[in-house]
Structures are given as C-alpha cells and as structure tokens.
C-alpha cells in the first residue's frame, strides 16, 4: 500500500467512525464486569473476557507487572492476601496475549519470604509462568508523586518500568479507611515509612492512585475479609463472596467493592477524592456494569 493511500484511508475511516450513527459502530462495552462463580480462575477469566479480553490490554512483547496483595503471612483461607488462583489466571492470560514477561511483586508487611510462600501466590504464579520477585530496596527511588499531600516518595522502579500494570487487590475491611481495595493496594509499591500515610490515609491512597495508573484492576472478592482487618486470623473473619470485579476505572472497581461490605460508595471519602481528582467514577449508576455467572 502506498503511503498516500494509507493516509487517505486513515482519514476517511477516522471520519466515518467519528460521525457515523451508532448503528454502524460497535455497541459500547461494559466499563465494569462482575462475575460470580465457584472457580476463582474461571470467574477471573470471564471477567476479563467480558471487558473485551486480555489482548485489549496487553500487547505482544509487553513487560507486565501484576500487583497482588501479598502483604501478610497468611494462608489463602484467611483472605488476607489475594487469591492465588486469581493471580495465576491473570498471569496465564497475560502470557497468552503475548506478554514478553510477567512479574508478580509486592512490598510485604510481614517477612517477605513467608508472605510469598504461605499466601500460595508464589507457587501459583510461578506455575502459570510468572517471575515472582521480592521487592529490592536497591530499586527504590525517590520520585515526584505530585500529589495533593504526597509530593514525593520512594517508589520501587519495577512499577515504573513495566509496560503494563495489573492491580489485583483483595477486598478487606480496614479500621481506618473502612475498606482496603484497589487504591490502597498501591501502598505495596512504595518504600519508606509507609505507616505514616495513615495520618491522612484517604488523601494518601488517592495520591498514590493518581501516580500508579493501572491498565486494569481486578478485584478479588472470592473470599473477602469482613472482620479483624486487614489480616483477619480466623476463617470465621471471612465470607465467601465468590466474585471477581474487573475494570479499567480503578475508582469504579473500588466503589463496587464497597458494596460487598454493605457500604455506599459515597460513604467512603477516598472515592470522592479520587473522582474529583479525575481518576474515575464512584457513582455506580453512571457506570456500565455487566454481571455474569460462570
């Protein structure tokens, strides 16, 4: 094809797309998918599929970083860390979409090796083909976050260098921010004295959410933590929700996540702050949601 033809086609096609009636264009896909089912892996796959498939987010040759919550030295039935099967499904899908490399990483709170091993994430993600790496203090760099409160902070460079980032939080209660979902999960991508952030936790998670813009957020609500958050300790602190929520809008994902805890999104200050920062929408009635069951 001649360059001239190509440009002509591009312009004509572009104009056609822009001004054509909706009849000719694709019907708008869902912004948020909510899938329920027995298998964590199957519902994860279905949730991403309903969004348009992983190849919509991951291109051939991409270096993908998947950020689960591996914060605690807790086994999966305690629902303190992301479900390992959910993580493994995302690893597999990324590789199927041609990702060159998938790294799974989190800056843990308890001893790293124990968290990686006992959460089951290290084993599951490795089996799916990921490189599961401990965070490395040498890779911390002070960066300008340009937040409302957090002007600069130490960030693990792996999160900055990746081509695509998938955020995979687990839904849990928290005594200060009430719930911990996707936005708060970014505390695991930074170093420094993270515990100071609790002095203005809502502002902190929004500042972090504005800095780390994930390609995709997949909220694991297969087994959620409803008491004694954010680490639980007994199976009775958890509840089986058997759901995965996926979306490109991190605020909408968190807003939907709040409903698992009988909370209205507008009750959560960090969601309002996030919306006003332009990170997404928390008013779920304005979000195109598709629900499926597997």
């Amino acid at each position: 094809m001649e360059r001239r033809d190509f440009l002509k086609n591009l312009i004509v096609g572009g104009l056609a797309l822009k001004f054509s009636t909706p009849v000719f264009s694709q019907p708008a896909g869902p912004e948020l998918t909510v899938v329920e089912g027995e298998s964590p892996e199957a519902i994860t796959r279905e949730a991403v599929k309903a969004l348009g498939g992983m190849s919509r987010f991951i291109s051939r040759g991409d270096k993908v970083l998947i950020k689960p919550n591996i914060g605690w030295d807790r086994t999966p039935e305690m629902a303190a860390c992301t479900n390992p099967d959910v993580v493994a499904a995302l690893v597999a899908m990324s590789l199927e979409s041609g990702a060159k490399e998938v790294v799974v990483m989190d800056h843990t709170i308890n001893q790293p090796k124990r968290c990686y091993a006992r959460s089951g994430i290290q084993e599951a993600a490795r089996a799916a083909g990921a490189r599961v790496l401990f965070t490395d203090e040498q890779r911390l760099k002070k960066m300008a976050l340009k937040g409302e409160w957090l002007k600069e902070w130490e960030v693990f460079q792996d999160f900055v260098e990746a081509d695509k980032i998938i955020n995979v939080p687990i839904a849990k209660v928290h005594s200060l921010s009430r719930v911990t979902l996707g936005l708060k999960n970014w505390l695991g991508a930074i170093g420094g004295n993270r515990n100071q952030l609790h002095q203005k936790i809502d502002q902190a998670v929004v500042d972090l959410g504005a800095f780390f813009k994930p390609t995709l957020t997949v909220l694991d609500a297969y087994r959620i933590l409803v008491r004694n958050g954010p680490q639980g300790g007994r199976v009775s602190d958890t509840r089986l929700q058997k759901t995965v929520v996926a979306g490109m809008d991190p605020v909408a994902v968190d807003a939907y996540g709040a409903t698992f805890f009988e909370l209205k999104p507008q009750e959560l200050p960090f969601l309002k702050l996030a919306q006003s920062r332009g990170l997404g929408k928390f008013e779920l009635e304005k979000v195109r949601i598709e629900k499926r069951a597997v």
């Binding site: 790293p112 124990r114 091993a117 790496l133 490395d136 005594s175 200060l176 004295n193 008491r227 954010p230």
Partner: protein, 533 residues
C-alpha cells in the same frame, strides 16, 4: 639410607584435609539451611552437630539435672574417642578446621614460626573444663562461651551472617550500577531467599572475639585447640586406648625435629616415648612430613597413659574449688527477684532458671528467626545470660505463625512447639505510651499498631479518644487500647509504630507464660489450672 617421605601418610594427611573441608562445608550448609525454608517445619535437623558434642551433654545434664535425649548421640563421639583418641578434633571439628586453616596460612606467610621445643603448658583447657563443670554443679551453665561449636555457630550467626548479607546486597548494588540488571536481581532474590539477618546488637563484640580467636593462631598453631577448648580437653581425658599409636623407627629417625616443630597441638611426636596421646589429634602431619618416613601409627591394643599435661591433684582441686566459688557470683543479680522488662524470650523458652541451665548461646535461634527479632543479650539477662537470645521488637517482631526458633534449639532450652501451640504462647505484653501515641498526644489519626496486631479478635482494640488541642478544638480519633488477656507480646506493634525512636507502644516481659511470678492479672479461677510455665 634412602631419604623418602611416606606416601601412605601423605595421602592420609590429604584425606584428613578433605574430611575437614567436607565437615566444615556440612556445618556451613546446615548453617545456611537454618532459615525459613518456605514451609512451616524444618525438614533437616540443622542443629545436629551440637548433639555430637559430649561437652554439651555433660554440662547441660549437670546444670539442669536432666538429660536431653538428642544429646545422647554424643556418646558415640565419646566411645570413638575412648578407642581412637582425639581424631574428632583433627578430622571433624569445624572450628578445628578453621583454626587449622589459619594456622596454615600464618605459617605459610611466616607470621607464625613454630620453635623446636615448646614447653608451654597445655593444662589451661583442662582447667577451663573443670571450671565449666564445677559451675554446672551449681547450675551456672558457662559451657556455651568456649564450647567450639557454640562459639563458631554464634560467630557465624551474629557476625558472618550480616557480612554475607551485606556482601549480597552490595554486589547487587554494584551490578545495578554497572547496568547488569539481571545480576542485580539475582543477588536481591538470593538475599530474599536466604533470609540472612542483617543487624545484631553486640555483633561487634562477638565478631571481635572470633577474629581474636583466629589471630591467636599467629602465636601458636591451633592456639584454641591447644590451650582453650574445653571440648577438646574432655575428649583428651577420654582418649584412653589410642588404638593407633605413634611409633618412631629409631633406625630411620635423623633427629631433625620437623615432626615436633609442625605438630599442630604440641603432642610431642619426638623424641620417642614422649608422645602425648591425649593431645594428638591424628592430623598425620608428623608422619607425612618426616623426611625419612620414620613415623607411623600402627595398631596396638595397650591402653595409653595420659602424660605430659601437668594435672596434679592439687591443681585439679584448686581449679574445681575456684569454679565452685566463682559460680555463685553469676547468681548475684537482682533479676533473680524481679524480671527485666526488656528480657523478652523467644516463645517456648523454659522458665528463666531452667532456660539458663540449658541455653548454649549458640545462636541457632537468632539465625533462624525470619524477622531478625532475636539478639544476643548483653546485660538484659544478668551475668549468666550474656549472649542468650532476647527478642528486640524495635528491630524485629515475633512472626505470628512461625515456630522456627523452637525447632532448632539443640538443648531444648526453647521447647519445640507446633504452630498451633505457638500462637497461644504469651511472651510479653504491649503497653501504649499515651504521651507519644499520635491519637492520644497529638490528636492525629493513626491505627498502625491495631492494623498489624495478628491476633483475632485483635488484642489492640480501638477506642474513641478526645484530645484537646491548643486552639481549643477537640480532636476525636480512634486510639489503641491493649487487651492484656489476648495480647501475646509478639511486638509487631512496637516494630511498626510510626514513632521511630522510642515507639509509642512497647512490649515488656510482664505476663509471659513461662514465668510464674512475672504476672500481671491473675486469671479467673477456672482458668488458673491452665497456666503453663
């Protein structure tokens, strides 16, 4: 006469060196294995070396009046020594190998020039042994300070381990600086997997003593083994038969003294008849170095007499008495009556007196602790407790689902616990310092300690607290309130508290289950019979 060295003993000497290398590597491998393996329970008995040390059996049995079954393995060592002499020192002991190696280096570099005749008394180690055993009679367990395995392991755990960690981290750093990202990554992942603990209080002191022990080899070959080692002394006392006896062929001997000069432990292979069998470690140096192959070790059945070491009755009696008189000094400590608030012992530690009777200060628990929480004590545990393990929450906390330290103790000073048992053991109690805690003192929100509390339901509960600020505004915040009944004293709250210098929540030893007197709240009548020390 043809001058030719013995081929047989040359190869035997090489075999001895190989065996030393293998046993040192085995020791080091077990040292590296003493970490969280990725599973809850260690599959390897990483503390196995200690069980073969008869000195530890003797001292802890006398001090604690109980026999720890695993240490009975050391009877094998004793039986072998009875028949074959101190070959364990020369062939198997990893600290012996370290000293031998450095003696060799110092000789090669001419820093150490052994003389023809060395009249220095070899008695000190026997006297040290006597003091250790006499003190043990009075339940003062001093064995760990100079026991070779405890000495070596402690030095490695507290001094070498942080250096290895630093080396890994720095080489990773260098790799990144050179743009070798994958190499840097490999270094950091190795550091994460090996989980070396990087910080220890008293590391300098313990490291300095280790270096000193090595440097002493400049003065005399295997200085430690000759003069200091109480385990070697014990084996010396038990080397009765020495089935392979040194023999000098008078027809071949040219009186060159080479054998005596290079004898590692000054066992006097020359002149004939002077051989001190209880000092010989069967390194085979004399037989290998002899230019005329005059020395051999043929099998002969007669028992040997201990000779050459000046251990007359008066000296023995005096030393034992000294030990008996010195030992009580270790007990003059106010800690006998009032517990030290900072003396937080690992979970499963026996009640303090029994703990001290058994603890070797070997550092197994400090090495295995995944969070770097256990440190060698200096003054926290009184004079008897120097270098016993103490949990320092500001540096590391006790990981809730971890019972590794209870799995590696060679003498049962820390009772082995399953994870299910361990989570019920209280090692101390957390206290909120309201003058430093953010919600109380500053009227600022912070729930970090509550968030980290691993107990369910949480032992740190949140209450609403009003703080009047200078501008007249009342700040209402959630603030921590410790439930002393459910708090286990793990110390993660103190470790993670945002007040970095002197945390606003701190753990003290009060309420520890192992103590019957360091108690705070007497439980309800029906629960009192469940109290287990």
């Amino acid at each position: 006469m043809k001058r030719e060295r013995s081929k047989k003993y040359f190869w035997l000497q090489r075999l001895r060196i190989l065996t030393q290398v293998i046993f040192f590597l085995l020791f080091f491998l077990l040292f590296l294995q003493t970490h969280y393996p990725g599973e809850d329970y260690l599959k390897v008995t990483v503390e196995r070396f200690f069980h073969f040390d008869p000195l530890l059996l003797a001292a802890t049995a006398i001090a604690s009046r109980t026999i720890y079954a695993a240490l009975l393995l050391s009877l094998i060592t004793l039986a072998a020594t009875l028949l074959l002499g101190r070959f364990v020192c020369g062939w198997l002991c990893p600290l012996g190998a370290v000293h031998q190696f450095f003696s060799f280096i110092f000789k090669r570099s001419r820093l150490l020039r052994p003389g023809k005749e060395d009249r220095a008394s070899l008695a000190p180690k026997y006297l040290i042994l006597l003091v250790v055993l006499a003190a043990a009679l009075l339940s003062v367990n001093l064995v760990g300070y100079l026991d070779p395995l405890s000495f070596l392991y402690r030095s490695f755990a507290v001094f070498i381990s942080p250096l290895l960690n630093l080396g890994l981290v720095q080489s990773g750093n260098l790799a990144y600086a050179l743009g070798l990202k994958s190499l840097g990554q490999a270094a950091s992942q190795a550091a994460g997997n090996l989980a070396f603990n990087g910080l220890f209080q008293n590391a300098l002191l313990i490291g300095a003593l280790f270096l000193l022990a090595i440097l002493l080899n400049v003065r005399k070959e295997r200085f430690w083994c000759r003069y200091l080692c109480p385990a070697g002394a014990l084996l010396g006392l038990f080397s009765r038969f020495n089935l392979f006896k040194l023999k000098i062929d008078p027809d071949r001997c040219i009186n060159c003294h080479l054998c005596s000069i290079h004898c590692q432990t000054n066992a006097r292979p020359y002149p004939a008849g002077e051989w001190r069998s209880s000092e010989c470690v069967y390194c085979e140096t004399c037989a290998a170095i002899c230019p005329t192959a005059a020395i051999s070790f043929p099998l002969r059945w007669q028992p040997e007499k201990m000779r050459g070491v000046d251990l007359d009755r008066r000296r023995v009696l005096l030393t034992s008495l000294t030990g008996l008189v010195l030992a009580p000094i270790f007990k003059i400590s106010p800690l006998r009556r009032r517990s030290n608030p900072g003396l937080i012992r690992p979970p499963g530690a026996l009640a303090e007196p029994e703990f001290l009777n058994r603890c070797l200060k070997c550092g197994e628990c400090t090495k295995v602790c995944p969070t770097n929480a256990l440190h060698p004590a200096l003054a926290e545990a009184g004079p008897e407790g120097v270098w016993t393990p103490v949990l320092v929450p500001r540096i590391g906390y006790c990981e809730y689902y971890c019972s590794l330290c209870t799995q590696v103790c060679p003498t049962g000073a820390i009772r082995e616990l399953t994870i299910e048992e361990k989570v019920t053991v209280k090692i101390g109690t957390a206290w909120v310092d309201k003058t430093r805690c953010l919600p109380y003192a500053l009227g600022k929100p912070c729930i970090v300690c509550e968030e980290h509390c691993p107990v369910s339901p949480k032992a740190i509960q949140l209450i609403k607290v009003d703080t009047l600020t200078p501008d007249g505004v009342v700040a209402t915040n959630l603030a921590p309130f410790v439930n002393v009944d459910t708090c286990i004293g793990c110390g993660i709250c103190e470790n993670k508290c945002v007040v970095m210098d002197l945390p606003a929540i701190r753990v003290s030893s009060i309420g520890e289950h192992r103590s019957s007197h360091n108690r705070l709240v007497l439980p309800a009548a029906e629960d009192q019979n469940q109290l287990k020390p």
